[in-house]
Amino acid sequence: MSTKFTPAILLVMLILLYLFLYGPIGYIVYVSFQRDSIWPFPPHWTLDHFASLWDQDDYHAGLGNSLAIGVGTGAVASLMATMAGIAVLKYRVIGRSAVAGLFLATLFIAHVLIGISSLMFNKMILGLPGNIFSAILANATYATAFAFLVVIAQLARYDWRLDDAAMVFGATPLLTFREVTLPLIWPAILGAFIVSFLLAFNNLEISFYNLGATPTLPTLAWGSLRHGISEELYALATLINMAVFGFLGLLYALLRTGLLKLDYKE
């Protein structure tokens, strides 16, 4: 008897997890369109919170800085992760597990440690001030680990003999990469970029310690939350959530068409 029920119970648990994860997000999206944010029932729809978000200049600066950190980190992390991912999957040389371990190590290090250690290292040893550049360097450490995971998952089934075939016909390694490998693996690279971009764009703890007084959207949100309820924060949350889910829709399309498959047993 239990065999028939089991999948149904598991499905209910999955649905409850989605409710737990998306309930608060859905509610904040709803609240961001409501005049009364504390008890918004019955609804009184308004766009005022978005207007007041738009009117605050520090959020404009924060958006620019967050974008710069996101794009910079995404570029650095996805480039390094793609190169390393290809190397680890393609060449069965001694030391590849150790190399893979180094690229994944940041997953097991708390963000606050990356934040404070790079803050002190930059100031005391390198003499670098806290700015967007140092925030990109610090964010790229853990973003590379995530990008590496995406690349590995996507390329696990790539057939490297395609490259060998091209080389046999006289193509140089660079030409092979441009004409054979890249057209097939670009979804993996773009996926790695999207994930590392989003992580760095929304990062608080690492950016916070490395930025000095430079505002980003997460540090502004943190400051605003410290001073109690501010309704433009809900508008910001709504916009960021919409952007993230838009990007993830794109990522999903890539995963579906790409080589990958996180579900490669089908």
Partner: protein
């Protein structure tokens, strides 16, 4: 072979150089700084053990560390217990929607910690929707949700459970579900089949999931800052304080080193107890990447 080796190291060199320069070296230097001292926001190279002596003798710091340790243990355990059936369902019964189901569990993670905490505060706080709704119906508010460690624990589970689902799911991808059919044919009930086949063969996934939830929870500061209330401060809050108001970087470094050391110990212990592949007798299915 020679060429392959050269190309391999050429491709991994930039990333390795970067990670050593900007991750490994800074971590080594916080160990160095933890033996220095701070004077008016500046690190001074005077070797001493005072930071560690204070950390291990002052009951205040021990208390915060113990509080964070138990928080991390509870949150990891809750996440492990809840994530297992969810990951199992997605891997076993997800069909063509596996990837959608999985991405939906991971997606909120990418929106960032602070916005997720903002959303939770709207639900849990004293003027959060749960207690406001109870008030609207003339019921007593739930005290446990208002600025307590329970609220922090809910928040931390909310933040990190996606990692647990992901780790167990990835482990289950290489799992041969036919084994469960064999067990069923031989008369094993589902729970027994789970304990004797599914769980032991997927220990690695559980181990990685536990560590991925435990470490950030142990270090967490933001969640307890906004959900935990005045008495809910955790080790991470005190650590952050050393780099904020007080500016005692050397002491903060020592706190960071202790945090890092505990992370390594936990990593090792979990791997030895839960994740030990040899003891569990795992053989990866042919063709699957290790």
């Amino acid at each position: 072979m020679q060429v392959a080796r050269f190309q391999f190291w050429l491709l991994v060199a930039p990333g390795m150089a970067f990670l050593i320069a900007f991750m490994v070296l800074p971590l080594i230097f916080i160990v160095v700084f933890s033996f220095w001292r701070t004077e008016s926001y500046t690190l001074i190279r005077e070797w001493n053990l005072d930071n560690y002596i204070t950390l291990f003798t002052d009951w205040t710091y021990i208390k915060f560390l113990l509080r964070s340790l138990s928080m991390a243990a509870i949150v990891s355990l809750v996440a492990l217990i809840y994530a297992w059936p969810v990951a199992f369902f997605i891997a076993r019964h997800g069909g063509h929607f596996k990837l959608v189901f999985l991405l939906l569990t991971s997606a909120p993670f990418l929106t960032g910690e602070i916005l997720r905490i903002t959303a939770l505060q709207q639900i849990l706080g004293p003027i959060g929707v749960i207690n406001m709704a109870l008030g609207a119906f003339g019921l007593e508010p739930i005290e446990a949700l208002m600025y307590t460690s329970t609220a922090s624990a809910i928040g931390l589970t909310y933040l990190w459970i996606p990692f647990m689902v992901l780790a167990i799911y990835l482990s289950l991808l290489n799992f041969d579900f036919d084994l469960l059919e064999v067990a069923k044919v031989n008369g094993a009930r589902p729970l027994r089949a789970f304990w004797e086949i599914t769980w032991p063969l997927n220990r690695a996934g559980s181990a990685i999931g536990i560590v991925l939830v435990f470490i950030p929870t142990l270090a967490s500061a933001i969640t307890s800052q906004f959900l935990g209330g005045p008495n809910g401060a955790l080790y991470g809050n005190i650590l952050a304080h050393q780099f904020g108001a007080t500016g005692t970087w050397a002491f903060g470094s020592a706190m960071g080193v202790v945090l890092f050391a505990i992370s390594l110990i936990v990593l090792y212990a979990v791997w030895k107890t839960v994740g030990d592949l040899k003891r569990s007798g795992v053989t990866l299915k042919g063709g699957a990447e290790p």
